[in-house]
């Protein structure tokens, strides 16, 4: 990068950036200072919060894995194949990102009241079940995973895949043997982004899977439940745990060289 001369212009911009970071820093520090380590430990070792933590971790992992599984073919299609209406499809895939989270939950619950939805529920019970938590998380997280994987495939030259076709590969072989190994870092980043998004999901889970303690309660629901009964210390302790998990994911994504 070219080194710039320090001028008033850059100093003002840096001040804006510093103010924003300080604002965030102060919020985090004051949240940390709200509770004592003993209260923090006591809250995190309670059976309800332990259950919510475990459920959050495994449902987020399942949702992120499912999101990655559909993000790879969709983003590869959009990146490599030109077809009429491609920009429309591209825009439609962003709908879960721009929809208010509660609306996603309402859409899910209404769909599973329809004939097709009920037929699916006969095979896999989802509404107000743990499966519903995964589905609610997946519905939003997949859109983020697709966006992330699309960026990865767009950055990779299609040339090696073209050459692989002349060397005996089918299209699937070229994706499997050439594109995916090159997209490895992007896949890790997409998984982490989907995982972090799933971990923080609240609205669709509350509407579609409910907030039953020791059943469908995940960490964001715990924060809400604890706050609603006035137990602010527990809510803060769980919030701090979520902040720690989010920072860990951010570090993993940065290590892969990708950006959130």
């Amino acid at each position: 990068m070219r080194k710039q001369r320090l001028s008033a212009f850059w100093i003002v911009l840096a001040a804006v950036c510093a103010l924003y970071l300080v604002f965030w820093g102060l919020m985090l520090v004051s949240t940390m200072g709200y509770t004592s380590p003993e209260a923090w430990w006591q809250a995190l070792t309670s059976p309800q919060i332990r259950y919510a933590t475990q459920l959050s971790i495994w449902t987020s992992t399942a949702a992120a894995a499912l999101a990655l599984l559909i993000a790879i073919p969709i983003s590869y299609l959009l990146s490599r194949f030109e077809f009429p209406g491609r920009s429309l499809v591209d825009a439609a895939l962003d709908i879960p990102i721009v929809l208010p989270p509660m609306v996603v939950g309402i859409c899910l619950i209404i769909f599973f009241q329809s004939n097709l939805g009920r037929a699916i529920e006969h095979i896999i019970p989802l509404t107000y079940q743990v499966g519903g938590v995964v589905l609610a998380q997946f519905t939003v997280a997949a859109a983020f995973a697709i966006r992330s994987m699309r960026g990865t495939f767009d950055q990779l030259s299609p040339r090696p895949e073209d050459v692989a076709l002349t060397l005996g590969c089918s299209r699937f072989d070229a994706l499997w043997r050439v594109a995916l190994p090159s997209a490895r870092r992007g896949m890790i980043a997409a998984f982490c982004i989907a995982w972090a998004r799933s971990l923080g999901e609240f609205g669709p889970i509350l509407v579609f899977a409910g907030s039953t303690r020791m059943k469908t309660e995940v960490l964001p629901t715990t924060v809400w439940l604890e706050m609603s009964v006035g137990n602010l210390e527990s809510a803060v302790a769980v919030s701090m745990l979520m902040i720690a998990l989010a920072i860990t994911v951010l570090i993993v994504v940065r290590v892969t060289g990708e950006r959130v």
Binding site: R159, P160, D162, L167, S170
Partner: protein, 214 residues
């Protein structure tokens, strides 16, 4: 042998077009195709190896119509200008790629890799990845990878353009030598008249969407 019958192709936005291209390259011929930047040379190479479908016309390789065939069934090797080595693979895996995809056994893959690495003088590079190779070394690896597929035809898109003056003559000699040894039909795309004069059995020129023999 390569034969093109009335190949047509129109670039989106009508920036250039290939118009009723007829071409015959006899077996084991080293043909050099010249033309200005953006005249459609690379597009023609992609049509030949099946990466792009022509709007109309027919492509024949060794007497068989391959127009509708996938690239993997055409027996045409292709070296794009940027060589397109697989970024995550060691040289040994790059060369063994085609035999592995075609289901050859481990011994056959190893002996094919060793023979080609020896022939192209890259045995010492087998454990390296593309980012640790020089331009000339990458060129040799890409050639070995293409030859491992045992193609009948080899398409070379400006293979010497990224090399410095000193290396260019060596690689040109290597290309001619490989073509004769492997009995290949080669189409070599270039801007350079000197390259064409040094290598070509058949000199071709692409102008205004048509091919002319020189």
């Amino acid at each position: 042998m390569i034969r093109l019958h009335q190949i047509c192709w129109q670039a989106p936005g009508a920036t250039f077009a290939l118009l009723d291209i007829d071409l015959h390259v006899p077996p084991c011929t080293y043909a050099v195709l010249m033309g200005s930047t953006g005249c459609g040379k690379t597009t023609l190479m992609e049509i030949l190896c099946g990466l792009r479908m022509p709007s109309s016309g027919r492509v024949e390789v060794n007497g068989f119509d391959v127009t509708r065939k996938e690239p993997r069934h055409r027996h045409i090797g292709y070296l794009p200008q940027d060589l397109a080595l697989f970024p995550e693979m060691k040289v040994v895996d790059q060369i063994g790629f085609s035999p592995r995809v075609r289901g050859k056994d481990r011994d056959a893959i190893r002996s094919a890799v060793e023979a080609l690495a020896d022939e192209l003088g890259i045995t010492h590079l087998l454990d390296r990845r593309p980012q640790n190779l020089s331009g000339g070394e990458k060129q040799r690896v890409a050639l070995a990878r293409a030859l491992a597929a045992e193609p009948a035809v080899l398409l070379l898109d400006e293979p010497l353009s990224a090399l410095d003056e000193a290396r260019r003559d060596d690689v040109a000699a290597l290309l001619k030598n490989l073509q004769q040894k492997h009995q290949l039909t080669v189409i070599h795309v270039t801007h350079s008249r000197t390259e064409a004069e040094a290598l070509a059995d058949l000199r071709l020129s692409l102008r205004d969407g048509k091919i002319f023999a020189e």
